[in-house]
């Protein structure tokens, strides 16, 4: 499906647009983007994979981003059947205790990727079976890939 068709198709799923914060954009990116409110993330993701039309069964990238005010996760999805791609993003504003729904029950690869995001950004994932530090030691303080992380010993700022 082309991006326009995709957008139309997905837009039909949510009949009450007020309740679901769903925004499409194609600006500054080569893929079609969807921004979704964290509460509806898991529901949307589940449908994206299991709907026959979208069939986005391949999560090829899961990125944590520190947007400054809020923390976000970007999901890059592709369909191995239709070969179309889609980007889903979810942002949380709470920097102290950011929580998102885990999608590891939908795509198994998300298990490790979410642990990585937790490790570096401190975003917690609900229903993740094994959410603990992946790369860093268990007693590491702070989340290194956040923009406000400081480490005067190990970080060289140019």
């Amino acid at each position: 499906m082309t991006n326009v068709e995709l957008q139309k198709h997905i837009d039909n799923w949510f009949t009450d647009p007020g309740a679901v914060k769903l925004e499409f954009s194609e600006e500054g990116s080569q893929f079609l983007n969807i921004s979704i409110h964290p509460d509806y993330l898991h529901e949307l993701m589940w449908s994206l994979k299991h709907n026959k039309e979208t069939h986005l069964d391949y999560l090829f990238c899961l990125t944590g981003v520190d947007w400054g005010k809020e923390l976000g996760v970007v999901y890059h999805l592709e369909s191995t059947l239709h070969r179309h791609s889609l980007v889903v993003r979810a942002n949380v504003e709470d920097r102290e205790n950011p929580v998102l729904d885990s999608v590891q029950d939908i795509w198994a690869t998300a298990n490790f990727h979410e642990r990585e995001v937790y490790d570096f950004f401190g975003i917690k994932f609900n229903n993740h079976p094994n959410l603990k530090r992946l790369f860093l030691t268990d007693d590491w303080e702070g989340f290194p890939l956040r923009k406000d992380y400081v480490d005067e010993v190990n970080m060289v700022v140019k």
Partner: protein, 373 residues
């Protein structure tokens, strides 16, 4: 110590064993926490981060030219392809028109890198299942490719030959001759690989039916490269999202449907043949032209997000750049193939024996810096 053991509810006959971080079969500093019942693997839990260098954080500090050389150090066996991924992302963002010559040279070196990586893997694979001699035969052939790289790029492993806009310098006058003689040499050696290891009854028993990954699981776990293709999952980025000169060269995607270790092995052997055929098609008609297009000394990407996928020897490498219009990326994420491929290890190794785990891990072809980044 207790904290690292995942769950302490061991059954009475199970015990826990640390494989790595210094273990001959883990190819570097990968630590696997194994729960074992006798010889049977009950659980594999990878513990990562022993050589994490925070390349993604360093990239946020560096300029786009400087990022390229860091990617050498991720998957050091396909460093040229990693370099190319970043360069392509930057070039696409700047909408630079890259000369045909650069595209062809990049593709040739890509495929040479792939052969070099696969010959090393072949040697190490043999060694992991106990045939030590394969290691030397693999390295003998890889050495010739490294010589080609050294003559043209100046380095054998961390080449950093790509720059945004093209290549650092033109190919060496001997390049074409050397590549041709290598192809001629390797065509006689690859059948030897088959008679030494592929056909060997012990090797087949060790790998057939071991570490089975179904197609559905391969997609769900994000397996890519030979691991995915061994399960019959067509995931070659070179086919589906061709880059550089790959859209002009016909080649077959190596596919096996069994999904076991032997299938992954066969895919890689087949890929070496395919890579040779790609090189043969390109080597005789490298177009004339510039070896790069000039860029500004300070590259500033337009505001936006750029994603570039390439097929390294291990699978799909994704470079995801979020730019705010400054000279540094706001966020740069490497989606490395090894990371996803490692995550499925627990899934396919459970129920096998320790020997199976080693054979399975060898066919996943993990490079730990690629996972740790």
């Amino acid at each position: 110590m207790e904290t690292t053991i995942v769950n302490n509810d061991f059954k009475s006959e199970e015990y826990f064993i640390n494989m790595g971080p210094q273990h001959p079969a883990t190819h570097g500093v990968l630590r696997l926490l194994l729960t074992i019942d006798g010889e049977i693997i009950k659980k594999v839990e990878p513990d990562l981060g022993y050589i994490h260098r925070s390349i993604e954080k360093m990239c946020e500090r560096d300029s786009y030219q400087q990022i390229v050389h860091l990617t050498d150090r991720m998957d050091y066996l396909s460093s040229h392809i990693n370099n190319e991924a970043v360069c392509l992302a930057v070039e696409n963002a700047l909408q630079l028109e890259i000369p045909e010559r650069v595209k062809v040279i990049r593709t040739i070196i890509d495929e040479l890198t792939r052969i070099a990586s696969h010959t090393l893997w072949w040697g190490v694979m043999g060694m992991d299942v106990g045939a030590l001699t394969t290691y030397f035969y693999g390295f003998r052939d890889r050495e010739l490719i490294n010589d080609i790289f050294e003559e043209t790029c100046g380095a054998r492993l961390t080449m950093n030959y790509n720059i945004p806009g093209g290549l650092m310098y033109d190919i060496h006058p001997n390049f074409v001759k050397r590549v041709k003689s290598f192809i001629a040499h390797f065509k006689t050696k690859l059948p030897e690989y088959d008679s030494l290891l592929t056909g060997n009854v012990i090797f087949q028993k060790r790998t057939k039916g071991v570490g089975i990954l179904t197609k559905a699981d391969a997609i769900s776990f994000g397996a890519s490269g030979p691991v995915g293709r061994g399960s019959g999952y067509s995931c070659d980025v070179r086919k589906h999202h061709p880059y550089s000169a790959l859209d002009k060269v016909p080649f077959n995607e190596a596919l096996q449907t069994e999904g076991d270790s032997f299938a992954r092995y066969l895919v890689r052997i087949q890929e070496m043949w395919e890579s040779m055929s790609i090189i043969e098609q390109l080597i005789d008609n490298i177009p004339e032209g510039d070896y790069n297009v000039p860029t500004n000394a300070v590259i500033k990407l337009p505001k936006g997000e750029f994603y570039q996928r390439v097929e390294t020897a291990r699978g799909e490498l994704g470079v995801y750049i979020i730019s705010t219009g400054t000279k540094n990326p706001y966020r740069l994420k490497f989606r490395s193939p090894g990371f996803s491929n490692l995550s499925l290890l627990n899934h396919i190794a459970v129920g096998g024996k320790i020997g199976d785990l080693v054979a399975t891990m060898a066919t996943l072809d993990l490079v730990i810096p690629d996972i740790d980044r």
